[in-house]
């Protein structure tokens, strides 16, 4: 489905079902150099189980036009504008990696309009090594390889996004190349990493949430190590938020290396 958000065409995958604003809505937000398709199994399942799904391509990424966001805050405001454009008053937000920061910040800003926040593979601060930031700009193929090496936790994922026979590592590499190529004006790899690295509002955002929050972490995650999420978890608990933490035996490719466990954790949390 295509919407016009902030004057730009915005693509949202709806899980193979027609958009229906009357249903409860869940918005999926991808991470750096990804797009909607990383959520394909989880979003398609929920769309066929009573949810209205909007798995968005962030501005300047793949099928969406517009200026790629240069900060978490800018991207969070985009999520609010997206809900307005779709005519959605209330939604759950699910974000992965950079998308988890966007979901958290958006939930803090949108307050009662957000019913649940699911932070997959999150960390705060989400510092990115200077070498990786530099490589994302000047040697993107090298940086992409580093990201996918750090993200994987297995050489034998179960049937995944493309069904049986999916090579998750290769799929991550190909998607990264495609997303990078989709925006000839801006290196969205570099811009996304810089946005992660510079974001400072995590604890304040967590304190401002008015919805329950699920931390869905990868016990083997080398990109966003579970330890790096503990500060946010403590901040949420200190602020009196309703917090749930699920740690799966997976790296940073949660949605494709453990698709079912990731789905079930999200599904069960959204029922609360």
């Amino acid at each position: 489905m295509k919407l016009t958000v902030n004057g730009a065409t915005t693509y949202c995958y709806t899980g193979g079902k027609p958009f229906d604003a009357a249903k409860p809505t869940v918005v999926f937000v991808h991470g750096v150099l990804n797009d909607h398709s990383v959520w394909i199994l989880q979003s398609r399942y929920l769309a066929n189980h009573g949810w209205n799904v909007l798995a968005v391509d962030l501005p300047g990424h793949c099928k969406s036009g517009g200026e790629a966001p240069s900060s978490v805050e800018e991207a969070a405001d985009f999520i609010g504008a997206l809900l307005d454009a779709a005519g959605v008053q209330k939604a759950a937000l699910v974000g992965h990696s950079w998308g988890s920061l966007i979901a958290m910040e958006a939930a803090a800003r949108l307050k009662d309009r957000i019913s649940h926040a699911v932070l997959v593979g999150t960390a705060f601060p989400m510092k990115v090594s200077p070498a990786l930031i530099e490589a994302s700009l000047n040697e993107p193929e090298k940086a992409l390889t580093m990201v996918n090496v750090f993200s994987r936790s297995t050489l034998c994922a179960p049937p995944s996004a493309l069904g049986p026979g999916t090579w998750v590592y290769g799929a991550g590499m190909a998607l990264g190349r495609r997303v990078l190529r989709s925006n000839p004006k801006v290196n969205v790899f570099h811009r996304g990493f810089v946005a992660c690295d510079r974001y400072q509002g995590g604890e304040a955002a967590m304190a401002a949430l008015t919805c329950p929050v699920l931390f869905l972490l990868g016990g083997l995650d080398q990109m966003t190590h579970p330890k790096a999420a503990q500060g946010l978890i403590k901040a949420a608990q200190a602020a009196g938020q309703k917090v749930q933490v699920v740690t799966l035996p997976v790296g940073h490719h949660q949605m494709t290396e453990t698709p079912d466990a990731t789905l079930f954790a999200i599904r069960d949390f959204l029922k609360t």
Partner: protein
């Protein structure tokens, strides 16, 4: 430096796609000889059928043993995924049938396996798909052959049996300018000798019957997708970019930004055409894949020695291997192949100076080389292409494929190289006597 997180080729050949079985602890890949898989619940069944969850339903569509083979091939080729099928020919057909229908057009190399030539020249024409054949090195010819309805470029990494090396970067560029993908048959090279995706190819298929399995025991095929071709941007592939009534109105390029081809190929091609691979065959191929790097090294070193012997024999007129500077693909092989011209494979041809009778005497005198219609076995093989594998081709087409009436094709195996040379020496002597 390859390590646990970034394993090298030899490690992937052994481990990609497989781990000890979580139920039994079996270290080797189990053979899942079952037609179907029990659903956990009605909801699980519906979710599998509707692609909301990934898993196995019915072994025509997917099977856990086959999935190991598929992941391993995708890992070795540098792709996003793969689909195993009943043969190399099934892989070619599945690729074409997924991308086009009647009224479409293919541009293909003349230097093709005879079976592929038959499919394109005769069989697909009957279904409304036409092919223009171009000599692999005729770059202007590839450009000139493009039509508005062209949907695919197709060639072999090294042609069978002339070993014309396909200039993949150049041909891929022409294909991409025409907004169509390049499919290559990498059967003779395997990913050990060249990874076509690194040179610009979009889809790769293999007859796994040959070097991948390597022991002459099984028929199988596999197609691997690079995930690099942008079907949406091309605008030529409504099969992948528009809703498909045959699968819940699914638009494959929306479901997966990089995997639309594989989604449709499995969900339509395996479902409807049904050329699935037996799990037992997949297991046999996996046994071969585990030693692929070791075997390919020996294939190469044996071939180098045999080529040197034949090139210096007075009864041999031409040896068609890029190892020799006289071969038209010598320079290109050195540029593209991982091991240079040495890596142009161990299937090559040569011409005996003399009559057809002398050629016949040569083949019949061989004792170690087996006279049969296959290549890529661990045992050395020999055949006369013009009367067997390529016998349906016209003289003109034969010439295009680099085959003469007296051409002999060898597939060099893993035996002691001196024994192979002695066998050839003895047979050439017999040929000489037959001409006396």
């Amino acid at each position: 430096m390859p390590g646990y997180s970034d394993p090298g080729f030899d490690t992937l050949a052994l481990h990609a796609g497989a781990a000890p079985d979580p139920t039994t602890g079996a270290r080797a890949v189990p053979i899942h000889l079952t037609t179907s898989f029990v659903f956990e619940s009605s909801d699980h069944a519906a979710a599998l059928f509707n692609l909301e969850r990934a898993g196995h339903v019915y072994s025509r569509i997917s099977n856990p043993t086959n999935a190991v083979f598929e992941q391993r091939m995708a890992a070795l080729e540098g792709g996003i995924g793969a689909i195993s099928v009943a043969s190399g020919q099934a892989a070619l057909h599945l690729s074409i049938a997924t991308l086009m229908g009647a009224g479409s057009h293919i541009v293909a190399s003349t230097a093709l396996y005879g079976g592929s030539q038959n499919l394109l020249h005769y069989t697909l024409r009957r279904f409304g798909i036409e092919t223009t054949f171009v000599k692999p090195g005729d770059i202007d010819g590839w450009k000139a052959a493009v039509r508005p309805n062209t949907r695919l470029f197709f060639g072999e990494t090294v042609g069978n049996p002339g070993l014309d090396v396909l200039d993949i970067p150049t041909v891929a560029q022409i294909a991409h300018e025409a907004r169509v993908p390049l499919l290559v048959d990498s059967t003779l090279t395997t990913p050990y000798l060249i990874k076509p995706f690194e040179h610009g190819a979009d889809l790769v298929y293999h007859s796994a019957t040959k070097f991948l399995s390597g022991h002459g025991t099984v028929i199988g095929g596999v197609v691997v997708d690079s995930g690099g071709f942008d079907w949406d941007a091309s605008g030529h592939f409504p099969e992948l970019t528009e809703p498909y009534d045959g699968f819940h109105g699914m638009t494959f390029s929306e479901e997966s930004t990089v995997g639309a081809f594989l989604l449709r190929a499995r969900r339509e091609g395996l479902r409807d055409f049904g050329a699935c691979l037996s799990p037992h065959s997949a297991w046999l191929i996996l046994q071969g894949l585990e030693t692929l790097p070791l075997r390919m090294e020996r294939h190469m070193s044996n071939t180098e020695k045999v080529v040197a012997f034949l090139a210096s024999h007075p009864l041999v007129g031409r040896v068609g291997h890029p190892l020799l500077e006289s071969h038209p693909s010598h320079a290109l092989a050195n540029r593209l192949l991982r091991h240079g011209a040495k890596g142009a494979g161990s299937v090559f041809s040569f011409d005996i100076k003399g009559s057809r009778e002398q050629g016949k005497a040569f083949i019949e005198a061989l004792k170690i080389f087996s006279h049969l219609a296959n290549v890529g076995d661990c045992r050395s093989l020999v055949i006369h292409p013009a009367s067997t594998t390529h016998f349906r081709m016209s003289d003109e087409a034969l010439e295009g494929a680099g085959i003469g009436p007296g051409t002999i094709r060898l597939s060099i195996g893993l035996e002691d190289p001196q024994d192979l040379i002695d066998d050839l020496k003895r047979a050439l002597k017999a040929a000489e006597k037959a001409g006396a």
